[in-house]
């Protein structure tokens, strides 16, 4: 009971800190999700368009995913010429992971676009450019969205690792809480991180509803689960 009051008063006193860590955490998560998605879109579409590249690109994605995160954070400053505390290292590292997760999903999403629709749009005079924006991209949308939701959650979780190189995000609450053996701080960090993930997910789902009104299957929970389970299979 007393414990509960204690973490509440701690949160109250340190609200500004937690809020700024949360905002920075969210901002740090957004960029890799966005960049990873855009790059995966290009690569995944290419993999699907030129089957020759498909196995290479997908294998490349899988290899990226096996890079352990800790050494990556250490090596990146040398590769990029950045200072070790530079947040750009985190962004690049997380973009790589986002990319690794998304490439396959994107390739599958484009492969699942009904060939009927593609053929028909070609036959009535859509150029490749028009076809991509007006046919392939929207029809791949539901699967792309499902993939984005997974990546959003995993990126938000991974950002905390950046705290070990001094990034001011919710990971700080974990490392600091651990050092001070202050469990509540860790729990507050987890709570805030969960909150960000929830907000991102809701935004993604709402975006999906607005942009894909024909698709009635996007629900808050099932879509993320579905893609996770197919990934394992």
């Amino acid at each position: 009971m007393q414990n509960e009051e204690f973490w509440m008063s701690w949160l109250f006193e340190n609200f500004d800190l937690v809020a700024s860590l949360t905002l920075n955490h969210a901002a740090l998560s957004f960029t890799p999700i966005f960049l990873g998605f855009v790059i995966a879109l290009v690569l995944g579409w290419t993999a699907n368009r030129w089957l020759l590249f498909r196995s290479w690109i997908i294998a490349g994605g899988s290899i990226l995913y096996t890079i352990p995160s800790l050494p990556l954070f250490v090596i990146l400053p040398y590769l990029l010429g950045t200072r070790i505390t530079d947040e750009r290292n985190i962004i690049v590292a997380l973009t790589i992971y986002a990319l690794a997760i998304l490439i396959r999903t994107v390739a599958d999403a484009f492969a699942a676009v009904p060939t009927d629709a593609i053929e028909a749009s070609r036959a009535i005079g859509y150029s490749s450019w028009n076809r991509f924006w007006h046919v392939e991209f929207p029809l791949a949308g539901p699967v792309l969205l499902a993939g984005l939701r997974v990546v959003s959650a995993s990126t938000i979780a991974l950002v905390s690792v950046g705290a070990i190189i001094g990034s001011a995000n919710l990971g700080y609450l974990f490392t600091n809480g651990k050092q001070r053996d202050f469990l509540d701080m860790i729990l507050i960090g987890i709570g805030a991180s969960f909150l960000i993930a929830l907000v991102f997910d809701i935004v993604l789902v709402l975006l999906g509803r607005v942009l894909m009104p024909w698709n009635k299957r996007t629900s808050l929970i099932t879509n993320g689960r579905r893609i996770l389970s197919t990934k394992g299979a």
């Binding site: 009904p114 009927d116 629709a117 053929e119 028909a120 749009s121 070609r122 036959a123 009535i124 005079g125 859509y126 150029s127 028009n130 007006h134 046919v135 929207p138 029809l139 949308g141 894909m212 024909w214 698709n215």
Partner: protein, 300 residues
Amino acid sequence: MAFLLELTLYLLPTSRFARLARKVGADMIEFQNVTKRFPDGSFAVKDFSLVVPSRKVTVFVGSSGAGKTTLLRMINRMVNPTSGKVLIDGEDVAELDPVALRRKIGYVLQATGLLPHRRIIDNVSSVPRLNGVPKKKAREDALTLLDTVGLDRSLADRYPDQLSGGQQQRVGVARALASDPNIMLMDEPFGAVDPIVRLELQEEINRLQRELHKTMVFVTHNIDEAFAIADQVVILKSGGEIAQVGTPEEILSKPVDDFVSTFIGADKGKRTLHLKQGEDGVTVIVDDEGRPAGILGDAE
């Protein structure tokens, strides 16, 4: 008189002349020794030559694999011939930009080919939108087109999967008409609907053609359908080999060989077809029970 016309044409800038010619409406399609050979060495079409007359309905009929779709798709460059040429008003389509060419030709596909993520109204207005027609205007035109093909305007905001098969086919026809093309290609557009709806849709095509006068190339493997809508029937054997070309009347009265006789079912005595003069100067084909099997020629 002829001299005056020639002089006028001479004085007109060529581009305007070309446009005029298009308006006046040649839109004749000509296949010249067209062959399509696939990498595996098989021939879909072998040395095919045919003139598709302007502003008439030409129907390719033949059994599955005869090369009908391949022939159709060579007109809008969805398939490029291995050798030979396809000409539209004397112009080799191989020299035209495929995207621009396809936007000028209406195409109704076998499996409707509607875009599942777009409302009916947006499906119908796709090509005008690509051509830069403002959204509002394109949508208004699309509503008018729904009237034209006999669809209720209340369907405009639905998605394709909320329509019946027959309704979807009509949307496909409306979409093909949207850019007011002079040439319409229709690949078994009514293959997936029940016989009654099919008859209705054939009637609809005849009605549209009486109003719009397109150069129409229609593919089917149903000979009754061919007779119901064609000005010119082209009966194909495999490899796009022409068994017979002619008006429905000619083919019915003088099948050139056993293949054609068998194909039109005349040999089976299953049905004897007669021609009957109907109202509005329409010649109706009726079977021996007096049921109409089709309509001959133009209304005028």
